[in-house]
Symmetry: C2
Subunit: 285 residues, 2 copies
Amino acid sequence: MIKVAILGYGNIGKAAEQAIMQAPDMELVGIFHHNDSIDSIQADVVLISTPTREVQHFAQSLLLRGISTIDSFDIHTEIYSHMQVLKPIAMQHQAVSIISAGWDPGTDSLIRAIMLAMTPEGQTYTNFGPGRSMGHTVAAKAIEGVKDAVSITIPIGEGKHQRDVYVQLEEGEDWQMVRQRIINDDYFAHDPINVIPVDSVQPFDTHGHGVLIQRQGVASGISDQQLSFSMTINNPALTAQVMVACARAAVRMKASQQYGAFTTIHIPPIYFLPLDEEQAIKTLV
Amino acid sequence: MIKVAILGYGNIGKAAEQAIMQAPDMELVGIFHHNDSIDSIQADVVLISTPTREVQHFAQSLLLRGISTIDSFDIHTEIYSHMQVLKPIAMQHQAVSIISAGWDPGTDSLIRAIMLAMTPEGQTYTNFGPGRSMGHTVAAKAIEGVKDAVSITIPIGEGKHQRDVYVQLEEGEDWQMVRQRIINDDYFAHDPINVIPVDSVQPFDTHGHGVLIQRQGVASGISDQQLSFSMTINNPALTAQVMVACARAAVRMKASQQYGAFTTIHIPPIYFLPLDEEQAIKTLV
């Protein structure tokens, strides 16, 4: 049995608890809050389900002790440098860190990679939502002057999105200043945005989300190959389930002495599954 | 540059020629017909695009000489044993064989594996077509008494299919006997089938095909996660392009001393792509 601990007990941590309990090959050995001391964690793998900006610090501490880590670090522009930071530590301490393991980044990254392999020339569009973005919601909540927030992602076509950020202000805060802080945050700086003041974010606080990935491309010189992946999902549930699949993969990478930091596209997909090789080939290939 | 040869110059071999010529990291070093002597082939990787039933024989001969092979062996029930035959030869001669590399088996296998990782409980349906099945068409053509044939796959829902096999008889053959041979062939024995006599198969001989893979499953204990992948494609073009992506992957597997026989789900998807790691992460993850 793979000994798995959870660090961070928000929406994803709670979902991960369910996913681990239902995994036939895993044992949940502890749940730690992000303000606990983590020196006492003993596990094969730790799922780090803290806010993204705290992930790297915790991953470093755990990898230094030779404990493998899974995170769902979701700032796309910083994934490569996040990997570069964790890689040497993981290699030196013979551990495995699988980063950005959720659905986007995560399984959507896999889909985009496979679509590109199938059609080396072409255009891929990733259209999210409508749905509540966990990463953007956490980022908005962390901004000074924000009492509570929900960030909804609205697809506006061809892979472009609008962010509708519903914000409940801290008492006595200046709306325009808080609004400006949100607009300037790196999470929000790249998309059209509506920042909307509300008395309560409750009505907007759903877990439903989805994505439509479309590619039109060329295979073997022949154009008009049309590829499409779509899903409607419960956001924390799917994120946590992908992290759990990656926890299994981390153990297998480590068993084959492939230490280091990896994204989902570095992992043989068979490693994600609680099946032996014969079963996997006979049921999936 | 990766030196790639093509063995078998039918629809897939011709498409592979185009795909190799457009690959930035590959050089086409030879095209061999399936009745040529293959002892003279010098290449890093050979794409074996012969009829499926000839694949294993050619792969064995090439692997024995340390030449990596890619095939699109497509008899689903025999993939595992095909791998077991090639694996020790590839390992002994420090070569890599990627088998069943097309779209199904192949990239569809990857999609099914990823969907299973996302939702460990649930039901996956793979619905093909309508379209001309290359494997079934070749199998039908090989049957005694058949002058020419085309097998069309018709989806009938929930992953079930009907085969419409259009057959032009050899002169003097008995229709009922030929029909029975087709029905009894392992390729056709598992699905409802219509065997239809025609004067010419030309009107049915198209390259358009497609698939719809649907999964409804449970993630982290929460049901009703809906996943869907679909595509409409040119069948030999996509098959060949996936083989070319696997040729690249085979070279990378070999470079990291991972010798043996593998299916697409054994391969880190990043290996399929002509991108360096930083580019791949920044554009796909």
